[in-house]
Symmetry: C2
Subunit: 314 residues, 2 copies
């Protein structure tokens, strides 16, 4: 059986992930998910990217806000704010249940992999989503006001500080979660898709986990990435702003360069077709697609393009 692996972070990645699940069954497709964004908040173990994927694949994501659950209520957070508690991180009442259950299971000694599998199953999701590691890895954002934990940068400070770099505390010592290296080394692996997530904040933490970058570079199957930068802007989130602050060109080309040595193919948005000639080379195939995913059809169509692109490497 041809198996595929998708590497994903937050909202953009989850959209393509949903499209892929419409084309590939649970035996054919697995996910490796960023946990560098995870943090302990109010004693709860919060996994934003795992939950974004879970809510998206489980059909309960809030498509208005682009994060959190549909039909969410805020009684707990409103009360917490009235008590003078920390309310900058928007924890909905239903979302809280996931964090309470995850935290309780982790305290009871279960691994993050096990707990994630339980939670995905409880959401009716048959596809396997592996956290990048069962050990804590924490993305740190080095910026003009100091070094911030990721959620402090991303949510509390709304990405306003100027970024000079990132580090992933614990990544080198961390082991990939059970199944990650096995998936990358599987003889029937037919392709790897790096989803259109933030390369610096969503994908790099995964690559930083001990052995993952090397395993991806050595992977026998073709590896492709979908650009999260379209026409010089990020569809969502701070990717373009960060690239500017890191003195990188705010372009899909810079994303492709960031993944040099790892990817065999790159998907540009149609609006960036002019970049194709300069990007394509003997070692990098490039194609264009409509990569802005507004509707479910958009998600499935992009997934279809990605799979066809991978299959053309055979």
């Amino acid at each position: 059986m041809a198996r595929y692996l998708a590497i994903t972070g937050g909202v953009g990645g989850a959209k393509l992930a949903l499209g892929l699940t419409h084309l590939l069954g649970p035996d054919e497709l697995s996910f490796v998910v960023n946990t560098g964004d995870d943090f302990e908040h109010l004693g709860l173990h919060v996994c934003p990217d795992l939950d974004t994927l879970m809510y998206t694949l489980g059909g309960v994501s809030n498509t208005d806000t682009g994060w959190g659950r549909a039909g969410e209520t805020w009684q707990c957070l409103d009360t917490l704010a009235a008590l003078g508690g920390e309310s900058w991180f928007r924890l909905g009442d239903r979302d809280l249940a996931v964090h309470l259950q995850r935290s309780a299971r982790l305290r009871a000694g279960a691994t993050l992999s096990t707990v994630s599998a339980e939670l995905f199953a409880a959401h009716g999701i048959a596809h396997r989503a592996l956290p990048m590691s069962d050990q804590p890895v924490r993305t740190l954002v080095h910026c003009d006001i100091g070094t911030l934990a990721f959620q402090h940068y991303f949510v509390r400070e709304r990405c306003a500080p100027r970024v000079s770099g990132f580090s992933f505390a614990g990544a080198e010592r961390a082991s990939p979660a059970p199944g990650v290296l096995e998936a990358l080394g599987a003889p029937d692996l037919a392709g790897v898709i790096i989803c259109p997530s933030n390369p610096f904040l969503s994908i790099d933490p995964i690559l930083a986990v001990g052995g993952v970058r090397a395993a991806l570079a050595a992977c026998a199957a073709p590896v492709i990435a979908v650009s999260p930068i379209v026409a010089g802007a990020a569809l969502k989130g701070p990717t373009a702003k960060i690239m500017a602050e890191l003195s990188l060109p705010q372009s899909a080309s810079a994303v492709a360069a960031h993944y040099a040595g790892l990817i065999d193919g790159f998907i540009l948005d149609e609006t960036d077709r002019a970049l194709l000639p300069e990007l394509a080379s003997d070692t990098l195939r490039v194609t264009c697609a409509q990569s802005v995913m507004s509707t479910l059809d958009d998600r499935v169509n992009l997934a279809h393009t990605a799979l066809e692109f991978l299959r053309a490497f055979q």
Copy 2:
């Protein structure tokens, strides 16, 4: 200034406490509250009796259920149940905020006294409510199916098991919270009221904390108790059932006997007036009052009776 101290547990005690706050200002009245019911649940530090008093004095108690908050919602708990989590303890969305905030403050190193003062203040309560101790004391219920943590007996098992006794783990080693012994020894203490709470489950844990029983017995001011047993039945909760299982008469007289050596006065319900002659003695004054508190007027009237009763000792 004449100062009063009320010793209280759950719902019945909180009703009289509310009545007392209508007659005595924050400088005149303090509370000592049972924390033997406290427990760690889903990583949260839950203090049922402190919260019952806080919600009652703060005007947000749920008078329909007799526990929890008015206008409560259950999104988190319903979701937790759907995830296969522990849902036997009814944590409402707004109630959860209190537990999250308390737990966060305790983890940050604040004492339970400090955190309770903060939470009561946030609920607009000026009267001081002291937990019996800042150290953990845990009521254990010895019963036919083994020894149960209090909430497991009370909520999960709905008081169904047959009780043979109680113990208060940690009580002897625990110190009274700052202010408890000071209040009992204050030269201007004008009286102590043991509220109509369960003697075994709400008041005994307080008395078991190192030094409290002795300080109450040695207290220069008069000490009175209000019977939680009316006409041989408890108004709420398992008091009468427990007394039967402990082979005690299910009567107000047995409650008075339980407090022998500690109390100088005892308030019977009017319906138990026939017990007055046998109970009254050289060392125990007894009076009758309407002790069933259905309305706010009932609460204030009983509080008034208790204060007049105490003042008559002068």
